[in-house]
Amino acid sequence: MSIMKRMSMIFRAKANKALDKAEDPRETLDYSYQRQLEMLQKVRRGVADVATSRKRVELQATQLQQQSEKLQGQAQQALGAGREDLAREALTRRAGLQTQIADLQTQHAQLQGEEEKLTLASQRLQAKVESFRTRKETIKATYTAAEAQTKINEAFSGISEEMGDVGMAIQRAEDKTATMQARAGAIDELIASGALEDSSGQPNDDITRELEQLSAGQNVDAEIAAMKAQLGSGEKPKAIEGESGDAASGQTQPKAQQEGQS
């Protein structure tokens, strides 16, 4: 038998099984309506959950993007300081991040798709629930239990199929989101472990430390050069004020420090 026929029979069997349980079919109307409202809430919660996951992925992608740009800058800085090895290391890590970012972008698109699907499912269900409510009141007001059966069956199988459809959509969205959340957790750990920079902007990775040491060394060199220059230009006035003993002793002290450092 064809797939489409088999599927419709499975759905119908579900609806019939539920209907068979009821003694007075009119009672099932209110009960079913409650279940529909619950399902409506569930699908709305589903939309919110998927949106939360989507935002988390967005945030992670932004953090990784910032980290990637930082590594790019560090590579340039390292190369400028003649440290090609460090530049290579930075660019290698950046390539790793780019892969992660591409992966996050794919996840983001999938989550957005699920969010749209669930939003539409929730709109469809809402319209059908509203329609069911109206029909339920009519049936209860107009028909005896015996007469009501056919009308109820009609209304019921229509909404039941939609409920099954929406229930599946929620389940599928939850499954997809759960897989992505596990991966998102791994990336959060990666960001927190210091392999990447955390959002506080605290430089805690080794490349940053090496570059800082490098630039600290350069700063010391520059200060020393400046001091030397100052001392060099300071010798002239000292030569003029040669008679002052204080000036002469003040001159030897920094010179000794300078030699000790180099």
Binding site: I3, S8, A15, L19, Y31, M168
Partner: protein
Amino acid sequence: MIVRILGEGQFEVDDGHLAALNELDAAVEAAVDSKDEEAFEPALTGLLDAVRNWGKSLPEDTLIDSDLILPPADAKVDEVVALLGDEGLIPDAL
């Protein structure tokens, strides 16, 4: 006849298209039976596109059960197998 595409909604399709739909469905079924993911995807797309093209989308507040139900557009073979094999995939509706 009324055809539902899961995750998408219901369509009213002229009965005259049933033979053509069955033909497209046979391709989907063959792919599912042989668990051939590569053949499944285009077969399902072909079937769903036919329903969308030939059918008229029903208003959202329509309460009517469908004569035929089709898997969602992004379904995988395994999902369809599970859907047909055991009723667990469709949550209880009442």
